[in-house]
Symmetry: C2
DNA sequence: GCCGCTAGATTGTCAGACAATTTAGGGCGT
DNA sequence: ACGCCCTAAATTGTCTGACAATCTAGCGGC
């Protein structure tokens, strides 16, 4: 695709606009977003007909969407009981964090190996923005900044498989973020670690990048009281 | 595949037997097996009505199953063109191998941390069986031995998430195994590495276990000519 | 008060239909 | 003959409605 040099609007987004997305893809996207944002509580049953009505789609369509979300680990399809929002135990969350640490380490390694100059620039920009938001303790700004930083990282690694798995793990763990005190005393340490990741990638030091990314995740996890969060989720719904 | 549960073995396995599987689960299982075994060629279109007839299920059911397999990375659902058996490029395969290496490293780490005495016994048994099959160059025996060894490893790590992701990555890479010369000059080296993994786990040496597992995967990959295999897959079907 | 049973709710699965879209084949101009 | 546009067939995307199988809860009997 050679780019046509058109003025303002087209230049803004080079990402391919999937206007022709099928209905089911939209359903999957919306449900996933809803689950990640916690609009459904963990453990809550998702009665098919109700959800169908709310989304205004047919049952076969919804079931297809739910199958996909089950494979992504966001819902559980209990036979003859129907879809239930997946509830992570503290142990599973711990394991997923460990998994995330090594995969994100590999992602950072790939970034150090493959990032283009533009990738590096974007990564630097979003790292600094995130750190600024963190140090300002501006909760409202932290979430989108974190999101953009993460997307920049996943873009820079130039690996579809790694990015996809990380997104998935991240989505599964989201039920622990929304309900946890995210910003606490770790701002300074966290900022330093983010810088360490960035600089290692810029330096093309693969081992350092991998290690820094792993360290960051493990510290971020330690920050959270997984057991308390899991219990909270467990109490939320029967 | 339909084995009747023998009474005496009930005490042996405490795992819950899911006799009451729904039709769709069977469809997913069978299709996945077919894809992993290469009964469908990479790039081949899977026309819904044809597959429906062959499996004797309705189209909505098949579509549900395909959604799940898409999320697992085994097929691709191209809008308005239908399901296509996913074809891995050499690059994607390389990336998946890197991913597998670190995840399997984490798996081995968990084994060293969590394996019970029975897990260790089973692991040792299947490691030795696999090595024996390898050294005998008995291709027919290697595949099931490898399978059992792998299952023993995944059981021993006692982590659902890690085991599930590894199974998935493994399934996606299977299209490269079936068509590659698996047994070659690497038997001795491979055997030594398998022993190293086993002994590190028995020694409860997490770092050594992780490293040994990663080394094994990376060497196993180097063994394969991914580009040649990818080209072969590419030629197979339009 | 506890236990079994029936009725209601919900899921599992199918059949058939039809519009939207892609793909392939054929006619037409040069 | 060659390439291009256009129509038709093939295939997917999606819906409606239905019915049996299964789970769940409330009711009545002991």
């Amino acid at each position: 695709m050679s780019e046509t040099p058109s003025p303002d609007r087209l230049t803004a987004s080079l990402t391919i606009e999937r206007v022709t997305s099928t209905l089911i893809d939209q359903v999957v996207t919306r449900l996933r977003a809803a689950l990640v944002e916690g609009l459904f509580r963990p453990g809550e049953r998702m009665v098919e007909r109700d959800v169908c009505e709310r989304l205004d789609v047919s049952r076969p369509l919804l079931r297809e969407a739910l199958r996909q979300l089950e494979a992504e680990g966001l819902v559980e399809l209990v036979p003859h009981r129907g879809p239930v929002v997946k509830r992570l135990s503290a142990q599973e969350a711990t394991e997923l964090y460990d998994l995330m640490a090594v995969v994100e380490g590999e992602c950072a390694r790939y970034c150090a190996r493959r990032a283009t100059a533009e990738d590096l620039a974007a990564l630097r920009t979003h790292t600094l923005a995130l750190i600024e938001a963190l140090q300002a303790r501006d909760t409202a700004r932290i979430v989108p900044c974190k999101k953009r930083y993460y997307e920049a990282l996943l873009t820079a690694c130039h690996s579809q498989p790694i990015a996809a798995y990380l997104r998935q793990i991240s989505a599964r763990l989201s039920q622990f973020w929304s309900s946890s005190v995210r910003v606490s005393g770790r701002v300074e340490e966290g900022s330093a670690e983010l810088i360490a990741i960035l600089e290692a990638i810029e330096r093309r030091d693969e081992d350092a990048a991998s290690l820094a990314a792993q360290t960051f995740i493990r510290h971020a996890r330690r920050q959270q009281d997984l057991r308390a969060a899991a219990d909270r989720n467990a109490r939320d719904a029967v």
